[in-house]
């Protein structure tokens, strides 16, 4: 019995690796002809000059934007396939400082009000710093990007229990309809049409994969008066699942 | 380019002061380190004052007094840990007999040394743009 369980585990690990390698190779190799399409579109635009037919120029702009989406999707696939292979350094991070760095890197902070609350006795911990950074950044980025109001309030609450850090990122934005809650973690799923709000839709998928890799958890709950609450449990001691 | 060390091997006070000034004005994130001669440079590369991380970029005035640039570059190229360092040679000498020797050691560039403060800023600005446009390996020795 034990032997067959072990060989099942091995087979599972091998399959997983094969899958990730496949996703990586495919995404990587598709990039070359995709880049060519993007470049050639630019050359033609260039050669046509600014006085070309408006419809033609618009169509080229559309073409390039769709190629841009392809690029984003491929990059997301590449990132997803490499989650447990790259940036796996363990080093000491200071949680408040890390949060601040994430906030600093955000685009479009106009009209965003951050409300930060730390309830920590251990501000420092040795962990996969780049991965934690990525997860927090993705959630903050989502909170800002999908916000629908003039003034965007984003709340960051960090506390800890004996085993984990509890990081809660919430906002007073539109929230997510109950029937869609399960879908938001699927890759490339976006609540709005990508024509309305351009987003690849991979941030949550990648974040969840990272969190599961470290043995943590992420959960969505709707806020009381519209808005979203994402709660991350990040273990203080990381045991990497293979 | 944060956290990178750049080693300048030169003993010309004017150039060094202006280099520091240029780095600060341009806002270059890397740390500029100095050595006045071969011995000091070597101690920072393999000796008691070994830089950590090792610099990936070096600037050497091969004709400054007390600096035998060709010797130093040859030693660097012969050393397993150091041989991949990008070396930029700056020289103020016309008709430099060391020039061909330096080029034969696969330096990244042989450049004429600027003197005036404004020229030095412009010099490092161009170099900084170039350094920011190239990739470095992620190994930190």
């Amino acid at each position: 019995m034990a032997k067959s369980e072990k060989s099942c585990q091995e087979e599972l690990s091998a399959l997983k690796k094969e899958y990730e390698d496949f996703v990586y190779i495919v995404s990587h190799d598709i990039k070359t002809p995709m880049r060519a399409i993007s470049n050639i579109a630019t050359w033609i635009e260039d050669d046509l000059g600014p006085n070309a037919d408006v419809d033609i120029l618009n169509n080229f702009a559309l073409l390039k934007s769709r190629v841009g989406r392809l690029e984003n999707m491929l990059n997301a696939l590449l990132e997803l396939s490499r989650v447990n292979r790259t940036e796996m350094e363990m080093y000491e991070v200071n949680i408040p400082k890390l949060v601040e760095e994430c906030m600093a890197t955000l685009d479009n902070k106009l009209n965003v009000k951050f409300h930060i609350n730390y309830n920590l006795s251990n501000e420092n911990c040795i962990t996969l710093g780049k991965k934690l950074n990525k997860v927090i950044f993705n959630l903050l980025d989502n909170a800002v990007r999908f916000h629908d109001k003039q003034i965007k309030n984003v709340f960051i609450d960090v506390s800890e229990n004996e085993m984990e850090y509890e990081i809660k990122i919430s906002d007073d934005g539109p929230g997510i309809a109950a029937e869609l809650e399960d879908k938001i973690f699927s890759i490339f799923y976006t609540v709005n049409s990508k024509d309305v709000l351009d987003s690849t839709g991979a941030g949550l998928t990648i974040s969840r994969k990272i969190i599961e890799m470290v043995g943590g958890a992420i959960q969505y709950t709707p806020a009381v008066n519209n808005g979203s609450i994402f709660q991350i449990n990040w273990p203080k001691i990381i045991s990497l699942k293979n | 380019m944060e956290g990178l060390n750049i080693l300048l091997v030169d003993n010309c006070k004017n150039f060094i002061e202006n280099a520091v000034n240029a780095f600060s004005q341009i806002g270059i994130q890397s740390t500029l380190c100095f050595a006045e001669n071969n011995t000091e440079a070597w101690s920072m590369l393999q000796g008691d004052y070994k830089l950590s991380p090792l610099p990936k970029i070096m600037l050497i005035d091969t004709n400054a007094e007390g600096i035998n640039g060709i010797d130093l570059i040859t030693k660097i190229r012969d050393n397993f840990e150091l041989k991949s360092i990008l070396i930029f040679v700056i020289s103020d000498v016309d008709n430099d007999e060391n020039k061909q020797a330096a080029l034969n050691l696969n330096i990244a560039a042989y450049m004429s040394k600027p003197f005036e403060k404004g020229e030095i800023i412009s010099f490092f600005s161009t170099l900084n743009d170039y350094w920011n446009s190239i990739e470095f390996s992620s190994e930190n020795k």
């Binding site: 690029e71 | 560039a109 446009s133």
Partner: protein
């Protein structure tokens, strides 16, 4: 000034990438003569028979058929007559192993080809400014 004198050998197998370089050179007003080899073997031939006259520099892709960039670089550095040529790698490979190998073979720079042509024009502009400081 160096831009007027030096000859550039582009070692690149992808015709779209060759066109990118030619167009980016034109956009940046780079007047140096550009020679093109489709792989390492062809490049060595062009260098050894002086089809590319001195002084010369090389822009090198890594992923090519027959002889890839790193293999080419090794042969180049072992050839007495060719070993001191300045090489600038221009590739889509973000692999650390390629970067390490390239710098160990003393390239003067390792440039990642950006996805957009506009960004590539800027990369080439930076390269041109750098070259204006270099003396051969």
């Amino acid at each position: 000034m160096i831009q007027k004198l030096v000859n550039i050998l582009l070692v690149e197998d992808d015709e779209v990438d060759v066109m990118n370089v030619k167009r980016a050179f034109t956009k940046n007003n780079i007047k140096n003569e550009l020679f093109v080899a489709g792989n390492g073997v062809e490049a060595l031939g062009m260098l050894r028979t002086s089809i590319v006259p001195l002084p010369r520099i090389i822009i090198l892709d890594i992923n090519m058929p027959k002889m890839n960039g790193i293999e080419f670089l090794k042969v180049l550095r072992e050839d007495e007559n060719l070993k001191n040529i300045s090489v600038f790698v221009m590739t889509t490979s973000n692999e650390d192993s390629d970067k390490i190998n390239a710098y160990n073979l003393n390239v003067a720079g390792y440039i990642l080809k950006p996805l957009s042509f506009e960004k590539f024009i800027t990369s080439v502009a930076t390269l041109k400014n750098f070259w204006s400081l270099c003396e051969m």
